[in-house]
């Protein structure tokens, strides 16, 4: 594995760290199995790419992309809370709706961003190579987002959101409008995924209609890997763990694809992901069995 591909894995890993933080909010904090991610990640990418392509400032474009994805998440929440559609189904509906919306946003299956400015080209110091600068910029951003989330979940609103996911009946008895908490949480979760999509498009040279396929699985993989490495019920630890999980996941993938003797190719990516998630899910069970045998 070359230095170049290692920095590349770090870069994409950090982008998916944002997705992992979003998935942590929906799956773990709100207890809402949300597949909207597969649509909100490319929505972020598509929105940012088309805006930048038409000359919008990349920072503004990234901001708009984040808001758009957050709105998409809120619609999923609304389908569930107000229209009483089962959570998983509501998110699947939103996911396929977003496929059409993303095509409309881009007006084409893809929007290249080869020569256009991006947040990375604008922030990159002249002294650093771009493949080093991008991951460092992302690292700073991910740390900021992690700290912001830690702060938020310690506030009264953040605590109300956590109680909504943990025990909605109790939350309502304490006067918390649980429906609104679901809407807000889904908005934040998908906004983070949209931000990740916008950055992904800018780092990988464009948005593509298929860029969202499997995003939720990667996000979940990151959450599960993170939780098995740093098991803790404390949210401050969990937000760190899932980012580490996302970066490690990309390293595993890069290793698997780079190891010539294994014979894996880029098209095997999703299969490798599925196997990795399965392994990460089975490890705790196997550990338990081993411990029982010893005892």
């Amino acid at each position: 594995m070359s230095i170049y591909s290692m920095w590349g894995a770090f870069e994409i890993g950090l982008i998916f760290g944002l997705v992992a933080l979003g998935v942590l909010i929906s799956f773990r904090v709100l207890n809402f199995p949300d597949l909207t991610v597969d649509g909100s990640f490319p929505l972020g990418g598509a929105t940012a790419a088309i805006l930048i392509h038409h000359g919008t400032d990349p920072f503004l474009a990234t901001g708009v992309a984040t808001l758009a994805a957050g709105f998409a998440g809120m619609v999923t929440g609304w389908l569930n809370v107000r229209l009483k559609i089962m959570d998983l189904l509501a998110s699947i509906l939103m996911m396929i709706a977003l496929y059409s919306i993303n095509l409309r946003v881009m007006d084409a299956p893809n929007v290249p961003l080869i020569t256009d400015p991006t947040v990375f080209t604008l922030l990159q110091p002249a002294s650093l190579e771009d493949y080093v600068a991008r991951p460092l910029i992302l690292l700073a951003l991910v740390v900021i987002v992690k700290l912001l989330l830690d702060w938020f979940f310690a506030t009264q609103v953040g605590l109300a959101m956590r109680s909504t996911g943990s025990n909605p009946r109790m939350a309502r008895a304490q006067g918390i409008r649980t429906g609104n908490m679901v809407l807000l949480g889904m908005a934040i979760s998908n906004a983070l995924c949209g931000l990740a999509g916008a950055l992904f498009a800018q780092s990988q040279g464009g948005a593509d209609i298929s860029m969202g396929i499997g995003t939720i699985v990667i996000g979940l993989a990151a959450v599960i890997i993170g939780e098995s490495i740093l098991p803790s019920r404390r949210l401050v630890v969990a937000t760190l763990a899932v980012v580490i999980g996302a970066v490690l996941y990309r390293f595993f993938i890069a290793l698997a694809l780079n190891a010539d003797f294994v014979g894996l190719k880029a098209q095997d990516l999703n299969l490798v992901t599925a196997v990795l998630v399965t392994v990460a899910l089975v490890i705790p069970l196997a550990k338990q069995r081993l411990r029982k045998k010893k005892a």
Binding site: F152, A154, T155, Q156, V157, G158, L159, A160, R162, S163, S166, N167, R169, M170, A171, R172, A173, Q174, G175, I176, R177, T178, R233
Partner: protein, 264 residues
């Protein structure tokens, strides 16, 4: 303080499993009174409590709390006035949150929640002081997950939580039923203490006739979704469990088949 007038509620109307849970239930509780509620299974005790807290919306009738008509208000809105302890110790607290976080949630019951830190130092002082009252050493475990506590401990904390923020009425739904006898007695004693200390208007559902007569100022018996017996003062002081049973039979004119009422 609380006034329930002619409440009706039917589950699954028009189906073979139709159940008339409340059939003209009326009850007035003046401020500061501690009412115990008994009745056999299916008498409508829990439904009545749920109707007051807002978890069930009644088909007809009016519920006034503190003079305000809350009949159509959702649970979160009534929480300003209603505090509650559930039967299941797991139901009243968030097991993934710490003791102090749970207490902070309860301290904010019915209040506007802002982006201020949820647990602040001055709150910790209050939480420690209240927890110390339990004599369980929980005041030194503020940052422990509440899921680590036993059912009895969690129920005791739930009671403290219900009294953190003033309420117009405190609803206790067989809150000692899921506990072992010793712990149940501990939680009951604690209930009496807290209610007296804060002068809370309280309605406690219990399945023990003994408890219903020993605790509080007034005892109400429900049967088939309405009040069939309502005693207080001297009449109540002179009553024993067999008297209560006899009165119940007299009022209803039928045998009491459910001997679970005799227990405790």
């Amino acid at each position: 303080m609380l006034s329930a007038q002619n409440l009706h509620l039917t589950f699954n109307p028009g189906t073979p499993i139709e159940t008339q849970a409340l059939r003209g239930m009326s009850l007035d509780i003046p401020a500061g009174q501690f009412v115990t509620v008994i009745g056999s299974n299916g008498a409508g005790k829990s439904t009545f409590l749920n109707a007051i807290s807002g978890e069930q919306t009644v088909d007809s009738g009016v519920i006034l709390i503190d003079g305000e008509d809350v009949t159509q208000q959702p649970v979160w809105n009534r929480a300003r006035k209603v505090a509650r302890v559930f039967q299941d110790p797991m139901a009243g607290t968030c097991e993934n949150l710490t003791i102090e976080e749970n207490m902070s949630l309860a301290l904010g019951r019915g209040q506007f929640r802002s982006l201020r830190q949820a647990v602040r130092e001055e709150m910790r002082v209050l939480f420690r002081e209240r927890l110390a009252m339990l004599g369980l050493g929980l005041e030194n475990r503020l940052t422990d997950r509440i899921g680590l506590l036993s059912g009895g401990q969690r129920q005791a904390v739930s009671l403290l939580m219900a009294a953190l923020r003033p309420s117009r009425i405190l609803l206790l739904d067989e809150h000692t039923a899921a506990l072992d006898p010793r712990t149940a007695q501990f939680v009951l004693d604690l209930t009496v203490r807290i209610v007296a200390e804060h002068g809370l208007t309280t309605m406690m559902v219990t399945h023990s006739m003994r408890q219903a007569l020993d605790v509080g100022d007034r005892t109400v018996m429900l049967h088939q979704g309405r009040v069939v017996l309502d005693v207080a003062g001297d009449t109540r002081r002179g009553l024993e469990v067999p008297d209560l049973l006899a009165m119940f039979e007299k009022v209803r004119g039928e045998e009491l088949a459910d001997d679970s009422l005799l227990l405790g």
